[in-house]
């Protein structure tokens, strides 16, 4: 079920009303209802893969219980690897089997050998990368004794399949979300209003910004061989806004929906396009995934408190694995590698934590130096996104070749140019609102709060009307494919 669909517009109010009609004292009933609602939400797409979620839930719950009973380090380690093996095994099979097979065949044929193998027609279960990482965080935290394993199977099931963040995150940590399923939840008016506001903003990002930017980006990327460098630059910039609007919009709707049910999810995006360097960008982009890799991959490898070569190795590992997590395609791996190359000079010069504050805090306008830093970071990001969006490596390389050709200095022209201008105006308005709200969890968290009620309602109406009247054609969320 898509957040931007009529199905969800009916599903959400029905689930919301029934959920709050259940007595607050009976947490188990609330959790059971959330599990049923979440399975319905997921099954709407393909009910067959519900068994996969259920199996993953049973395995990690049992391993968690097993870890609590065991003190033998070898057995504990064995249990941990069992959990990792099962979870990554599923992920590997559904997501990467054909990729590895194709690459083995290519490698063998390079040495003049042939392999008689067949690619399988595998459907990638939506959200598998997200819930796999979420359950893995539980087992690892229990193994590390950071978290006491739960004995409440229903609460654990609800934690694994909680519908707002099941298919595209944010990837929640068990230490943060699981306790919320074990405590009493009562309806909180300000929290629910805040949730609705964040949903509204998320839908604006997705439907007005991302879906309209997608029309331009798709046209240019799909016909990149017939456009000039200047047009390709426009395509890359529009994709940059498409992916941000799409994914951060999804996260906003997920977080807002959770708040409607009394849950608090972690911030997943913190205005990344206002970053002054790539290190800051990665602290602000897909925060739940970046911190997951930091805590469960980077730090166990030694992080940055090792020698120079190991620092370089660890940086490449984390960025390449992060790229590979996005999809079984070399384009994602190169995208990750490119970001590692951007990041390394900062890390090696110990400049990776220079910008931990908000840019131009307390001011309306940034300094010229900050402008330059933001624009440079944005430019590097745009280039990296070309690999992310391209169909394959040769497409990306051809795209870049044309982009950096003489035609970069010609007047851009492409089908849908007039509509692109309207979209561009919306992007500029969106950037302005994001800039004004950049110290908050999401751009309009408190922005309209300072206004009186009529002004607030007019603002909400304008956002809602622009979603309806200027929304692009419905597109699925990009991160569903991951």
């Amino acid at each position: 079920m898509l957040f931007n669909s009529l199905d969800f517009a009916i599903f959400l109010p029905v689930v919301f009303v029934i959920y709050w009609l259940l007595p607050a004292k009976e947490i188990k009933k609330q959790n059971l209802f959330l599990v049923l609602a979440s399975y319905t939400f997921y099954g709407w797409w393909d009910w067959r893969f519900l068994s996969l979620i259920f199996f993953s839930t049973v395995v990690d719950y049992s391993i968690g219980v097993g870890l609590s009973k065991q003190n033998d380090p070898n057995i504990r380690k064995g249990l941990l690897w069992l959990s990792i093996g099962v979870n990554l095994g599923f992920l590997g099979f559904f997501k990467y089997y054909n990729f590895f097979l194709d690459n083995f065949i290519t490698a063998f044929s390079f040495f003049g050998m042939t392999m008689d193998t067949r690619a399988l027609s595998i459907i990638l279960p939506v959200g598998i990368s997200f819930y796999t990482f979420q359950t893995l965080s539980y087992t690892i935290d229990v193994y590390r004794r950071k978290l006491s394993p739960t004995r409440d199977f229903l609460a654990f099931s609800a934690f694994v399949c909680f519908f707002p963040q099941l298919v595209a995150g944010p990837i929640e940590r068990a230490t943060h979300l699981l306790p919320q399923f074990l405590t009493r939840r009562t309806f909180n008016y300000p929290q629910a209003v805040d949730g609705l506001r964040q949903i509204l903003w998320g839908l604006f990002k997705k439907i007005v910004i991302a879906d309209n930017a997608a029309i331009v980006a798709n046209e240019i990327f799909n016909n990149s061989d017939s456009y000039s460098g200047s047009t390709l630059l426009i395509g890359a910039v529009f994709f940059t806004f498409q992916i941000y609007g799409d994914f951060s919009g999804y996260s906003d709707v997920a977080i807002g929906t959770s708040r409607l049910f009394g849950f608090d999810l972690k911030q997943n995006f913190a205005f990344p396009y206002f970053s002054r360097d790539v290190a800051e960008f990665w602290r602000r982009w897909h925060i739940s995934l970046s911190t997951w890799f930091r805590d469960y991959v980077y730090i166990p490898l030694g992080g940055s408190r090792v020698g120079t070569w190991k620092k370089i190795r660890n940086t490449f590992v984390i960025f390449i694995v992060s790229g590979f997590w996005h999809g079984a395609n070399w384009t994602f791996i190169i995208w990750g590698g490119l970001n590692a190359i951007y990041f390394l000079p900062l890390l090696l010069r110990n400049k990776n934590r220079v910008h931990t504050d908000t840019v131009a805090a307390g001011k309306y306008f940034p300094a010229l130096r900050e402008c330059f830093a933001m624009l440079s970071t944005f430019g590097l990001t745009v280039l990296a996104w070309i690999f992310f969006r391209a169909e394959n490596l040769s497409h990306a390389v051809d795209y870049l070749k044309t982009l950096f050709s003489e035609s970069l200095f010609t007047v851009p022209y492409f089908a849908g140019g007039k509509e692109a201008v309207t979209t561009l105006l919306f992007i500029l308005l969106f950037l302005l609102i994001e800039w004004l709200g950049r110290t908050q969890k999401y751009a309009i968290e408190r922005l309209p709060g300072a206004w009186n009620r009529p002004a607030r309602w007019i603002f909400y109406y304008l956002v809602a009307l622009s979603i309806y009247w200027f929304g692009g054609e419905q597109q699925t969320f990009i991160y569903f494919q991951f």
Partner: protein, 289 residues
């Protein structure tokens, strides 16, 4: 909780009202031509869109001529059109054979919301899903009528993007929905009769190659019979032929006229309409001088 729900309901009600207001304003802005009672209104699919020189017809009749024709226009578009034309106006309606046999999902179905039209579809075996799809397509108003259409410039020979096999495929067997579409079409004509409109029917010509395909098909008797069903709705009804007599090519492709054909047709139709008192179906055919 109650306060929260009350506020949401209030917000949504306000939003609904604002949307209706914007919808109506945009509808009126784009379609104000529908309120001119002394004009001529033309409807049809791409055959009418490409095949009628609106300016030529306007000059011939000394009246404003507006067209609601469009590529792929289907029976729902016709129903919505019949609801919009003013009472007692003059209407030129194309009896398109391709529209009758075109698959339902390929119909344009974007002439705005018409509850009566949707109900007529439902009564004629359109599924709930098909109706819902049409509703979704019409949630935002657009310009359903225009006063000018850019015609396809003249060429010595016709050039079709679609091969003749495409049409052969269409004409191979009688589609299951043919009678449903024809019945809905008749509902639209009845709407126009109820509005006391003066109706002129037009059957656009096919290129000889396509006409040959049609002549050999099992569908022809059904579409011919449909013309008789249209005629039976009127106390007085006649069929007449308009011959587009020229040695030059009048076709854009297999089923559409080019600028020359459209201009010739407008001129001849204008003359006939001035003289005609009875409801007439004009069958347009190519010819030589």
């Amino acid at each position: 909780m109650n306060k929260f729900i009350k506020k949401i309901v209030l917000f949504l009600a306000g939003l609904g009202m604002l949307n209706v207001l914007i919808y109506l304003s945009l509808y009126l802005y784009h379609n104000r031509m529908f309120f001119e009672s002394d004009a001529i209104f033309a409807w049809g699919d791409s055959q009418m869109y490409e095949g009628m020189d609106l300016t030529g017809l306007s000059v011939a009749l000394d009246k404003k001529v507006y067209s609601s024709a469009g590529y792929g226009a289907g029976v729902y578009d016709f129903l919505a059109f019949t609801e919009r034309v003013p009472e007692a106006s003059e209407v030129v309606v194309a009896v398109s054979k391709l529209m009758q046999i075109r698959r339902k999902e390929n119909d344009y179905n974007r002439t705005g919301l018409s509850p009566k039209g949707l109900f007529a579809l439902w009564q004629n075996n359109y599924s709930e899903r098909e109706i819902f799809t049409i509703v979704k397509k019409n949630l935002k108003p657009a310009a359903y009528i225009r006063s000018h259409i850019k015609l396809t410039p003249y060429r010595d020979t016709m050039q079709s993007n679609l091969p003749i096999a495409h049409f052969q495929n269409y004409y191979q067997q009688i589609p299951s929905f043919l009678t449903d579409k024809q019945n809905i079409y008749l509902v639209g004509i009845k709407n126009l009769i109820d509005k006391k409109c003066k109706i002129i029917f037009l059957e656009f010509p096919y290129h000889p190659q396509l006409a040959e395909v049609e002549n050999q098909s099992v569908i022809l008797p059904k579409t011919e019979n449909f013309k008789e069903r249209i005629g039976s709705l009127f106390p007085e009804f006649q069929t007449d032929t308009i011959l587009l007599a020229t040695d030059k090519n009048i076709f854009k492709d297999f089923s559409h006229l080019n600028e020359l054909g459209a201009t010739l047709l407008a001129e001849k139709l204008g003359q006939r309409m001035k003289e005609s008192k009875t409801t007439t179906l004009y069958i347009v055919r190519p010819g030589t001088k």
